[in-house]
Every structure is written in structure tokens, then in C-alpha cells.
Amino acid sequence: MSGPKTGAKYGRDEWAQWGIALVLFAVVPLLGKKYFVSMGNEILVMGLFAMGFNLLYGVTGMLSFGQAAYYGVGAYTVGLLLSKGVAPFWVALPATMVVGGTLALVLGPLCIRLSGVYFTMLTLAFAEMVWGIVFKWYDFTGGDNGIQGIPMPEVLRDPLRYYYFTLAVAFVSFWMIRRIVASPFGAVLQSIRENPERTGFIGVKVRRYQLAAMVLSGVFAALAGGLFAGYQHSIHPDMLHWTKSGEVILMSILGGASSFFGPLMGAAVIVFIEDMIGKYTEFWEIWIGGIMLAIVIFFPRGVIGTFDTWITRWRDHGKHAGTAARP
């Protein structure tokens, strides 16, 4: 899969994308319906989760099937700190980023010992281990009941206010991720994706950078989880379930792992689809599985990425009508 277009400068197209996205997210919820606010909030949270995941997958080429562990731990850190009255939200949210990064520092080196498919399976296995711990540790985490009624600070209790808070945090995070991808560090990550062996031969300690990518991804996942806990006022072991890891992968590949905003767009589509499916049937897995199967077989560059290619080709065809096809 090709990487995000890093481009010399942030081109006009890109500024336009940022502008449109920001305007859409800022204005639509004001149209009155509570539905837009809650959908928007979920899209932003999952979008942040997916963009953080894509730092690992689309940028560095590491397919992790265990990001739900960081997302869930992020949610639980906030949820537990708040419900047990240990810390206020303003402390809990940064704290959850630290916890997410630390967990990645612990699990990451074990997963990176092996590469390829085995790396992916190890991320899944250790995530399942974390899920199991949260699920069974009833006294501390509430077990399979989870914890409800998490108290939030007065100023953030209004759903619309919380939405704009999430919007701000999410877009600042997107900007940070963008800068990371364009930086020398991001260039190394992309080289690792393209050719890990050669990257070693240019003097880079590849494993160190892979671990750094896992830590960054874990930090953003935990932040997303923390934001979700604040939105839902509850936490549940399902947030660490392997299907959550699969969900964020689906969002990235649907939107296209090689375009910067792809994962965010994928998140929007999937959140809407899941909402619709949920209204008609409890059998959502078969639909999501079917969508993923279709993408893998027919749209390997992501649905939005493929449409992008078609549109470009159609545009170019119009420009060069009459001339011979390019080799």
C-alpha cells in the first residue's frame, strides 16, 4: 500500500480538505438534531482512533490487530479515575495518553520480536490478554458489567459543548499526526514500510522506530478511548474486544490507508453503516465481514482511494483526449 502523499509543501488541495472537514464538523451539529451531535461525536472519536492506527499501518506498514487494547485501556483509565474520584477529567485525559503510551512500551517490544503475520497475531494475542484481565478483574474494573454513570465536569456536561471539545482535541491531534508524517521521523517510518531492510542499511535502528510508532499509535488510541468514556459516561469490556481492533482496521482500509484523511472518512462511513445495521438486525458481524471481504477483493486500494484513482483517470482522459495513452 502506498503511503500518504507527504508533498513538499502543504498544497492548496490539502488546505482545502482541512477547511472542508473543519467546516463540516463544526457546522452540521448546529443544524439542531441531537442525532448529528451524537453521530458526529462518535465519528470524531473513531476517526481519531483510526488516524492514530493508520500511523502504524498506512505510514509504517505494521498491521496491528490489537489497538483496541490501548483504546479500551484509555477509556478505562478515564472512567476509573473519574468514577473513583481520584482525579478530575482535565488530569485524567492527559494521564490516559501516558498510560496508553506506557502499555505500548511494554507490549510493543514483545510483538516486534517477530515480523509480518506473526507480528499481527501477537498484537491480537496480547490485546486479548488485556481484554481478559479487564473482563475478569471484577473488583477493580467491574468485570463484564463495566462501569456506568461516570461523573463529568459541569462545563462539559452539555452534549453540544462536549462535542466541540472533542472536535478541538481531534483536529489538533490530526494536525500533530500530519506534521509527524511529514517530518524526518515520518520519512523514516515510511521507508520502513517500503523496505525495512534497506532502512537498516542507511543507518536506522528499525526496531526502535517501529516501537516509537506503536507508542504514538497507542497514545492516540488511548486519547480516543478517553474521549469516548467522557461522551458515553460509561465503560465496558467490549471496548477492548478484538472486533473493535477489526473495526478500526476496516475504517482505515475503507477510506484508504494511503491517503491522509482516508481513515477519518472511513470512520464516518462505518459509524453510519453500523448505526443503520443496528436498527434492523443484531447480526452486524456478517455485514461488516461482507464489506471487508468486498474491499479486499475489489478495492484493495480502499474504496475512496479507488474512486480517487477513477476520478483522476477520467479527468486526465478528458485533458488528453485524442493523444496516445501514457505507457
Binding site: M121, L124, L293
Partner: protein, 294 residues
Amino acid sequence: MDGSLLVAQLISGLTSAMTLFLVASGLTLIFGVVNVFNFAHGSFYLLGAYFAYQVVAVSGVNFWAGVLLAALGAGAAGMLMEYFFLRRIYGRAGEAGFQILLTYSFILILDDVVKMVWGTDYKSISKPEILSGPFSFGEVTMPRYDLVVIVIGLAVAFGMWAAIKKTRFGRNLRAISSNREMASSLGVNVPLTLSLVFGLATALGGLSGALSAPVRTVTPGAGIEVIIGSLIVVVIGGLGNFWGALVGALVIGEVTAFGILFLPQWAILFSYAVMALVLIFRPEGLLMKRGAVG
């Protein structure tokens, strides 16, 4: 803690090791020959369990015939998945990633199919009459059923080893796993062999599920547990190594059995701990030469 309890756990560990081995050996076979990591392998274990339930508990067919049918059913399902879907992504750039995503989508699909057909409540099958009692030799007592499972596991291990070493089919497998194009030019029907291997491997997974059905309740959640258990086995024993699958299964079977004695709720953590140690000190697995994997 008296000796008979330890021996009982040893045997219980051996039994679960055999069911693990059946699944892990299939996984290793697919990875070695077809070069696919069948993430969905646990789902075929699941299908085997549910097919066995359907045929034995619902339709009243003889237990052993039912187990065989269940295994064949799982094998057929595996061949269908390989032929109609997996085949389309062979040779793609970045194939490994697509394999994972494709097989993952099948986990989701099969998960819901199982729920739609059989519901989400626990199902159970009873062991056949003659096997539901104890078996003792000397001072040792064990469930008769467990003995049969162990025997079947060892028979399969030996059978597979013999088949791979001595038969023409086995030689074809080895040829394909070292060089697909060359095997093809030597006259091996590669596509057919790949499908057969896939079917054989998923049949083994289904066999394991069917054999486990009388012992553990049959639920949709078993699929993922099984694939993770197999992964742990394969990592410990050695990636792509057939005997490694057996050794790894024995290690995990026994570690879990004894772990249950000390920390019943958290016994699975012992397996993770062993895997972590292997990853740190011998990432290529216990049976592989040092430096075999980077």
C-alpha cells in the same frame, strides 16, 4: 497436594494438548504449503463443533460417524473459502496483509452464520456410552474419552508425518512449499493440491472442535480463543515447524493444566508468560535453529 491429583492434571494437560495440536498442525500445514496464515482457522474448529452437535445431538447419528462427518464438513467449508475467495489474492503485492483481512472477514461472517443457524445459547453433546466412564491402569485413573482423544491425536501426528515423508502427495506438498512454480513445471497440479491441503487442514481443525464438543460447551466465542491458543503453540514450538506444533501444544497443555491448580481464573496468563519468555530469549521458537527468524 497428592500425587494422583498431579497425575490427573498431567493427563488432562495431555488431552488439551492433543486438541491444540490438531488445530495448530493444520495451521502450520497451511502456512508451510499454501503460504497463508489462516486467521479464520478457529472458525473451522467452531464449525466442526456445531456440525457434530447438529448431526449427533439433533439428528441422532452415531457419535464417531458424526465426528467424521463434522470434520469432513469443516474441510469442505475450508476448501470453498480457499477456492472462491483466497485464491483471488494469491500473488498480490502485500499479499500477507490481504490474507489477514480476508480471513478476518470470514471470522465475522462465520461467527454470525453460526449464531443465525444455531443461536447463541450453549449447546452440548454427550459422550458415547462406552466412553463416559473412567479408565484405570495401575494407580492412574483418567476419563476413557480423554484416552481416546490422546490416541487420536498421536495417530494423526504420526499419520501426517508418514504421509508427508513417504507418500507422493507428501512429496508434492514439500515441492510446493519450497517452490510453487517449479513444482508446477514438474507436473504437480498445484491449484488442486492447495485446495486439498487447505481442506485437510480445516478438517483437522473441525475434528478438534468435534472431539472437544462433548467436553466443553459449544459456543460461538471459541473461535478466537482457539486461534490465539494455536498462535501461542506455534510461536513456542517454532514457526512453520510440524514437530514444533506438537512440542508447543504439549508445553501449553501442561502449563495451563498446572496453572489451573494455582490460579484457576488466570491460568491462561501462564501461557502468555511462556510465550513472552520464548519471544525474548528464543524468538525463532524452541525447535528452530538460532537466528532462523529476524
